[in-house]
């Protein structure tokens, strides 16, 4: 999850989420950075409205069981 936290940290600080920025943050934390994960993260976030993505409960609430 640390990659996601790095992205959220940048977002929260009003910074752009770039591969370099993610790598810098993770390295500063002493994380052995996996390039593929960084790329995957940044690619996955393209076009994503982060505010909306974090506000939306990850999964639709379970349909209440028909009792």
């Amino acid at each position: 999850m640390e990659y996601i936290y790095a992205a959220l940290l940048l977002h929260s600080a009003g910074k752009e989420i770039t591969e370099d920025a993610i790598k810098a943050v993770l390295s500063a934390a002493g994380v052995d950075v996996d390039e593929a994960r960084v790329k995957a993260l940044v690619a996955g976030l393209e076009g994503v409205d982060i505010e909306e993505a974090i506000a939306n409960a990850a999964m639709p609430v379970a349909a209440a069981p028909v009792a």
């Binding site: 996601i4 959220l8 996955g44 409960a57 990850a58």
Partner: protein
Amino acid sequence: METKVQAHVAPWKLEEVKTLKGLIKSKPVVAIVDMMDVPAPQLQEIRDKIRDKVKLRMSRNTLIVRALNEVAEELNNPKLAELANYVERGAAILVTDMNPFRLYKMLEENKSPAPVRGGQIAPCDIKVEKGSTGMPPGPFLGELKSVGIPAAIEKGKIAIKEDKVVVKKGEVVSPKLAAVLDRLGIKPVKVGLNVLAVYEDGIIYTPDVLKVDEDKLLADIQTAYQNAFNLAFNTAYPAKEVLPFLIQKAFMDARALSIETAFITKETAGDILAKAQSQALALASKLPEDAIDEEIKE
């Protein structure tokens, strides 16, 4: 100039200021604490507990101020002089290597409950609770009533009839009420070393800053985690915490689609058949008895 002032000062005071200055210079964190309300035995207990971590010295406020100002001047550190503004009441100087937040927390944790004194401002809502006081009938009953506490004799003892807030936070506690609360064994205040201000590395921390709200911190952590979880989930980022849920979502999607299209798979055959059967049972329940067979009636 300096010699002239010194001429009017008692030697012991000069000695004390020198000691205080040495103390201030000895540690990176300098705090002003108030110990005015702490009874002597309790103060001794606290000192014993924190002895390893801090150095504490009571002194006259004027001498503390003077020591701070002199050190500030010697070290060319005006911020340190500002600490003198916080010296009041029964001030003492405390120096330590602990960070101001830990220091504050430790001192708070070493406070202990004490009776409220007459004339003191209530630090919180003070409440009496319903129930027996264990005291035999006597003048105390009248004292209770006179401060507005509903009381009566029950089973041969004075009993409080209902829960009641007798003084609200911020209100002054009357001496009469304080005496009653003391007799009831209510200890609504916490006494110990009260931090007035802490200096470290060019910054002065006051109690409002030093008081870390752990509930809020906990809530923030949970929000941060939720945000991370939601972001990872909504972007299908395969973080290990999130993957099982992504897998579940994929499976649930597939299952829903399979049922919706009545496309039988080995994972969903049971669901689809059960759905059809449920529908049949639901429909049957709306039909008259003669339209349905024995199998369903059971």
